[in-house]
Amino acid sequence: MKILTILRKLGLVLSLAIVVSTVSAGETSTLKIPKAKQNFSAEQACVEPTDVMRRQHGLLLKHYRSDTMRHGVRTLEHSLVACINCHVTADEAGNYPTVHQGSEHFCRSCHTYAAVNIDCFQCHTSQPQESFSADMGPVQSD
């Protein structure tokens, strides 16, 4: 029967494709996340435990934003400026990556990987204060 032979051929091609893709799969591309400049304290790497930061950093930043913008409460606890200052590090030439180019930017490394768009940097800078304090004079701390 015609349809049988077609199906048989299809099955052969499929199983071949599976074998080829299995062999050529190789290893997973590993994600490189740039290290921060320093630990937050002796016990803790960041302002909250790492598990919390990985899951909740977006919420923390949004919460902080609304506290600051709508209620005028301005602390340094979950400040975006402080995140950027510690997490965005210069390359060997001393240049700082921005969120728009180069995979070495701390935020960009994961957000591109997980296809999550962020709008923080439509207003805020994605580079630490020290990167432009040299030619623009000391940046006012908030």
Partner: protein
């Protein structure tokens, strides 16, 4: 290696195997099952091209359901389209780099989950409160809705409330997909994520044994996929000819 990582990696392989080969076998079975009768539901297309259009309309916009029942059609189309968008959004966990289309689908997929739940609750209400539907409903009808609801609710909760480490999860998924066992990444073990994955894996496993086979099945429905040309072209099943037809001299052409 952590228990959950190994457990879900193996379950994923088993479920994928059952889904692929189960579905492949059912499609094969549908393809070789004879359709001895010419029974397109009329009015039916007179050409093969017409049949393609008819099937496409049936698959994409559920035309016959639309004609028979508007409110069921509404819930069905909401659920199925939302499911498509959600599925496209989930592709981000299975590829690196992520396709632009999948990146663009992200915000839509996030909110499509609510539409999906709305559709599912509508279909569940139909099954429970429409008396004649309730009368013919069997446990497996509820099981499918239940599994899809668990998937939808847990997924929406992960996305909007409890959160999980999606970067770590993607690393796990990619290492599983690439058969990179020596370098298998650990999986985040948030409760909601475990529930979500368990329901997904269960659905993959029951798929080839359940009513979810309407996905490939619709293409093989004789009432939908046949051309209305019984007079122009005689409809025969080869096995029927072999079994029942002798070739008397009078019917063979000179």
């Amino acid at each position: 290696m952590e228990f959950w990582t190994a457990f879900y990696a193996i379950s994923f392989y088993v479920a994928t195997f059952i889904l692929m080969f189960g579905l492949g076998y059912k499609i094969f079975q549908y393809a070789v099952t004879p359709a001895p009768l010419k029974i397109p539901t009329t009015p039916a297309p007179l050409t093969t091209g017409g049949v393609v259009v008819r099937l496409l309309l049936e698959v994409v916009i559920f035309r016959s359901l639309f004609r028979s029942n508007k409110w069921i059609w509404l819930f069905a189309i909401i659920f199925h389209f939302a499911l498509w968008i959600v599925l496209v959004r989930h592709l981000r966990y299975f590829m690196d780099p992520v396709w632009t289309l999948v990146v663009l689908a992200q915000p839509f997929g996030k909110y499509a989950s609510f539409a999906m739940l709305l559709g599912l609750f509508g279909l569940l209400a139909r099954r429970m409160f429409v008396v004649r539907i309730n009368y013919i409903s069997v446990p497996s009808d509820y099981l499918m809705l239940f599994l899809l609801l668990v998937i939808g609710i847990s997924g929406t909760l992960i996305s909007f409330v409890t959160r999980t480490d999606i970067v770590q999860f993607k690393a796990f998924m990619l290492s599983v997909l690439c058969f990179d066992w020596s370098n298998l990444q650990t999986m985040p073990t948030d409760t909601m994520l475990l529930i979500h994955l368990t329901a997904v894996i269960s659905l993959m496993i029951v798929f080839p044994f359940s009513k979810l086979l309407h996905v490939p099945g619709i293409f093989f429905a004789p009432t939908r996929n046949q051309v209305d040309n019984p007079r122009e072209k005689r409809h025969v099943a080869p096995w029927a000819v072999k079994e029942f037809e002798t070739t008397p001299a009078s019917t063979t052409s000179e």
